[in-house]
């Protein structure tokens, strides 16, 4: 099982982020109120924001280390990232959105894998549409599939359900639970919603004011 080790520090104006935690298999929740620094940490893991101090590693592979100057660029980190707003590419069809990561990584096309993911997320009937013709829930499912098809070693999900109404949330959560139970891919799941996390998380890192307030199991969500 992959072990993600995060130990980062960064000043952002008045706010200082200083967080240290590890995450192994299963779904690690980054839980806390808005402004706690959750998304910034996710962006640091993905390589979109550089910490000032500290290090980030998966297993023995160092992604960032301020001391030695290592900073692997995002496109070489092999970390899938599902953003709050989906961020599907508007000029590409759903099929090409899903296939984008494979093309960029130079992997051979794997029809079986594509079909498996499409089935897992139930998006097979959407492949020829453009993103603008999708509902919010469909978009998020495509975003998850797009990240999975890059064959990441870790999946980051930043408030993937926050832009959806509660009916849509209930529509998507089962897919994510299925993903947790079938894909055996470690996930880091950012959310401020304890109810949502109770259904999906296996470990919890509770953040408050840019610091880790507690780590443990889902009892921290109560």
């Amino acid at each position: 099982m992959s072990v993600l080790a995060v130990d980062v520090e960064k000043r952002l104006g008045e706010f200082t982020l200083a967080a240290r935690f590890t995450a192994s298999g299963g779904v690690t929740a980054l839980f806390g109120p808005s402004g706690a620094g959750k998304t910034t940490i996710a962006n640091m893991i993905a390589g979109l924001v550089a910490p000032e101090r500290g290090s980030i590693a998966i297993d023995k592979s160092m992604l960032f280390d301020a001391a030695t100057g290592i900073d692997v660029p995002p496109h070489r980190r092999r970390i899938g990232y599902v953003f709050q707003e989906g961020r599907l590419f508007p000029h590409l069809s759903v099929r090409k959105n899903l296939d984008y990561g494979r093309r960029m990584n130079g992997h051979a096309y794997d029809a079986k894998e594509f079909a498996r993911i499409a089935q897992l997320l139930d998006v097979g009937h959407l492949l020829d549409r453009r993103p603008r013709a999708l509902s919010g829930g469909e978009r998020q499912r495509i975003a998850v599939g797009r990240a999975l098809l890059t064959r990441p070693r870790l999946l980051l999900l930043d408030e993937p359900l926050a832009s959806l109404d509660s009916a849509r949330k209930d529509e998507i959560l089962p897919y994510l639970v299925r993903l947790r139970d079938e894909a055996r891919l470690p996930m880091v799941y950012v959310s401020h919603d304890a109810g949502e996390l109770r259904q999906i998380a296996t470990n919890v890192v509770r953040l408050d004011g840019g610091r880790v307030a507690a780590t443990g199991g889902i009892e921290l969500l109560d």
């Binding site: 990232y81 000029h91 984008y100 960029m104 890059t150």
Partner: protein, 231 residues
């Protein structure tokens, strides 16, 4: 539709050739400069910005003069290109294309730059997390999303090139079949008493070409815009 004489057709054909070549050659430069101005901060950016827009505000005859002394047969750049690459600009249609391209360049860069500035950078971040390195990210995400602006810039440059007169006639003169574009041909006709009637036909052609360029660009921009709207 237009009852043109062979000499007039030559001018029309030459104008189109000059404008198309000017636009196509300027396009890679326009995309590069537009991207640099939109995305990068570098020393001397304000100077680059100024030089790009200079042909828009300088009297065209001054631009033509500057081209003549630098790209002419005895100019430093012109002599170098002629001796080592065999490219000659003075009194050739290639010189007309050069001056038209330079005059159209500011109009090309502006919409391209704005298009790059308008792109949602978060989409590029998403592409990076999916494994796209800088150059491929540019080709697969940035450039396609900026396409409506690139097309608009190309059409503006083309239209400006089609109408170019002052810089071109200063730089490469007014030689029928070589550098006499529609504008220069109209000018020549107007030098002869009673030439207005003859010039009228070429004027109609110029109007028709300009309108066609605008309609084509509008059509492209709409098509490209429709693909993206509302995500």
């Amino acid at each position: 539709m237009f009852d043109l004489s062979p000499a007039e057709w030559t001018a029309v054909e030459l104008s189109l050739r000059v404008s198309i070549v000017a636009t196509l050659v300027a396009l890679p430069f326009g995309i590069t400069i537009g991207w640099l101005l939109a995305r990068k901060d570098f020393w001397g950016k304000i100077i680059v910005d100024g030089i790009v827009y200079l042909p828009l505000v300088l009297p065209p005859v001054v631009t033509g003069y500057l081209l003549l002394i630098s790209f002419g047969r005895r100019g430093p750049i012109g002599a170098f290109l002629a001796d080592y690459l065999g490219i000659v600009f003075s009194f050739r249609w290639t010189g007309a294309a050069l001056s038209c391209g330079i005059m159209g360049f500011p109009l090309m860069v502006r919409p391209i730059r704005l298009a790059f500035e308008a792109i949602d950078r978060r989409l590029e971040d998403a592409a990076a997390t999916l494994g796209a390195g800088d150059f491929r990210l540019f080709l697969t995400i940035t450039l396609p999303l900026a396409l409506p602006g690139v097309i608009a810039g190309a059409v503006m440059c083309f239209a400006r090139a089609l109408g170019e007169f002052g810089a071109t006639i200063t730089f490469v003169s007014n030689i029928p079949g070589e550098t006499q574009t529609i504008s220069a041909a109209i000018y020549t006709l107007l030098q002869v008493p009673g030439g207005e009637a003859l010039a009228g036909r070429l004027v109609l052609v110029a109007v028709a070409l300009a309108l066609a360029a605008l309609i084509v660009s509008e059509w492209f921009a709409r098509r490209a815009g429709m693909r993206f709207q509302g995500e």
